[in-house]
């Protein structure tokens, strides 16, 4: 846990360098099997650790995350460390600046360990769409770790970093958190600056933490949140208290999300809701009228935004080695953009389709209307209930390769998570059980900027159900 690392270094039980050494050794031992990382910055991490040790010796301020090793999803810009989005089109790109979240983590003494695997540009739910390699689920290496922040989920579960950052456009933090039995939080839209997050669908996505404990998630959130002049959609908000104790909360299970889930998932989520009742929370069941339109709306908007955001990859300002000689204007761009993976191409094409003349009103406008209707419906429910819950994922983790040939089937598994992105509300996934050794996560959603309620309920549940956060076998 991050807080234990900081205490350990502060109390001089071990040095930051010893801790970073042990984590690098761990990566060397297991990452050939898990394949969480795209880039490991061993030299940079050790040099940062030495600085922290020197500060401790000289009794200087060391920062509230001193020595905590953080793995970063490879679509978040890190100065001097290549940032690929798991795409061949950005293979050699080394950012000249840090994302705001990275600046804030570094200012607080955190050690950037390296860059973690994802589905190319964040488009996918398994990491199989990474252009480099698939990541394996640490609980069973034949299974997917979820995605798109699959490297971030697997690395935390496998002990390859203390905590990680992911990004969540339609579930990309919560899905791997659920599949890897760790905690993942997607913040309210605007709570965390997106400056330096390489855009896929910028009206939907947020950066958030993936951790082994709820307390760690709250600690990281308090560091990375806040208004940033480099992102005009960011806002200031109240810090999250670790011991706030809001008292007994009113919870409701979303019927449509639980009804469509696998039996083992349903059973485990009902059992978690019983635990909430045991500690005095009220727990009803509610229905969401527009839930069936959520996923079509999400794929319409995300593809439309992707088509526009990814138009910038012309290979002139950054990109891979493909000389301009011999090519004319259009031919050059059409050729270099062949290097996008198939899923990225599919989404760009769908985006072009839904935005094209004659279809805009039919798809894009309707999808935007659904967003507003859904948000109103959810906000109305949040007047009566503090939290809405359901399974994070409707199914258990599945085998690598099982769904890769049918992209549409893959889209359907995002049904439970896209609601929070469309409405811009915060949502957390916490581990609540296993079926045949495969993890199951509970999703909790709250009204905008009510992360405190998510953390309170998650801490309360974590206290009474002790679910393993990392496998013993790896």
């Amino acid at each position: 846990m991050a807080y234990e690392v900081v205490e350990g270094i502060k109390d001089q039980q071990f040095t930051a360098e010893q801790y970073v050494d042990s984590i690098i050794k761990r990566i060397e031992d297991v990452d050939s099997k898990i394949r969480s990382f795209i880039t490991v910055d061993t030299e940079g991490a050790l040099s940062s650790a030495k600085i922290i040790d020197r500060k401790i010796k000289e009794k200087e301020e060391m920062g509230s995350l001193a020595g905590v090793t953080i793995g970063i999803k490879d679509n978040i810009s890190t100065k001097g460390i290549r940032t690929t989005c798991a795409s061949k089109i950005l293979e050699g790109y080394v950012p000249s600046y840090d994302a705001t979240v990275i600046t804030k983590l570094k200012q607080n003494g955190a050690i950037i360990l390296g860059k973690l695997n994802l589905d190319e540009f964040g488009m996918g739910s398994t990491t199989e769409y990474s252009s480099f390699h698939s990541t394996h689920n640490p609980w069973n290496l034949d299974y997917v770790p979820g995605g798109s922040s699959g490297g971030s989920g697997a690395a935390v579960a496998a002990g390859e970093c203390t905590v990680s950052l992911g990004s969540d456009t339609g579930g990309s933090i919560r899905c791997p958190a659920s599949f890897c039995s760790v905690v993942g939080l997607k913040p309210t839209y605007g709570k965390v600056s997106r400056y330096g997050l390489i855009s896929y669908a910028n009206s939907l996505e947020q950066i958030g933490p993936i951790c082994k404990s709820v307390k760690d998630a709250a600690i990281i959130m308090n560091i990375i949140s806040g208004k940033d002049m480099m992102d005009n959609t960011s806002m200031n908000s109240t810090p999250i208290g670790i011991h706030s104790k809001l008292g007994k909360l009113n919870i409701a299970i979303i019927k449509e999300l639980i009804n469509g889930s696998d039996n083992d998932v349903t059973r485990t989520v009902y059992s978690a809701s019983e635990k909430f009742r045991d500690i005095g929370y009220s727990c009803d069941e509610v229905s969401i009228k527009n839930v069936d339109y959520a996923l079509p709306s999400y794929y319409t908007l995300a593809s439309a935004e992707a088509c526009s955001n990814l138009a910038r990859y012309d290979n002139l300002r950054y990109g891979y080695d493909f000389p301009i000689e011999e090519y004319k204007w259009d031919a050059y761009f059409n050729n270099v953009r062949k290097n996008f993976g198939q899923e990225v191409k599919r989404r760009i094409l769908i985006g072009s389709y839904v935005l094209s003349s004659g279809y805009y009103g039919k798809y894009y406008l309707k999808a935007k209307m659904l967003r507003s209707l859904l948000k109103s419906e959810l906000l109305k429910l949040f007047k009566k209930y503090d939290l809405l819950i359901g399974p994070t994922m409707p199914i258990l983790p599945f085998k690598i390769g099982e769904k890769i040939e049918d992209p549409f089937k893959m889209y359907l598994i995002d049904i439970n998570t896209v609601l929070a992105n469309l409405a811009g509300i915060p949502a957390i996934s916490i581990p609540v059980g296993f079926s045949d050794g495969l993890p199951i996560g509970l999703q909790i959603m709250a009204a905008p900027f009510q992360e405190q309620k998510l953390i309170d309920a998650s801490l309360a549940l974590e206290d009474i159900i002790d679910i393993q956060r990392g496998p013993n076998t790896i």
């Binding site: 000249s96 002049m229 005009n232 079509p296 204007w329 059409n334 953009r337 209307m369 549409f408």
Partner: protein
């Protein structure tokens, strides 16, 4: 539904050359998605629905101060004279 011709047109406006395999596979894959998002037509909605989701204050702008970049140049096709090189227009 997207035909092979429409797929080629979408690829052209998206500036992506598709491989033979993609031209073969994509129509059925994309059509499954389009068939699915077609249900948006049934959404009970009207034009009075507000589409602005967030209350963002865009008036708050940062001061226009020129700062020196301390990073490495990221423009890979820069000439020695500082121009960006692109392919021929015609």
């Amino acid at each position: 539904m997207i035909s092979i011709e429409e797929l080629k047109y979408l690829a052209e406006i998206s500036k992506i050359n598709l491989t033979e395999d993609e031209i073969d596979k994509f129509p059925s894959q994309l059509n499954k998605t389009i068939e699915y998002i077609d249900i948006l037509e049934n959404l009970d909605s009207d034009e009075s629905i507000a589409l602005d989701l967030y209350e963002i204050n865009f008036d708050e702008l940062r001061n226009d101060i020129v700062k020196k970049s301390d990073g490495q140049p990221i423009i890979k096709n820069l000439t020695e004279e500082g121009f960006l090189r692109g392919p021929k227009m015609k």
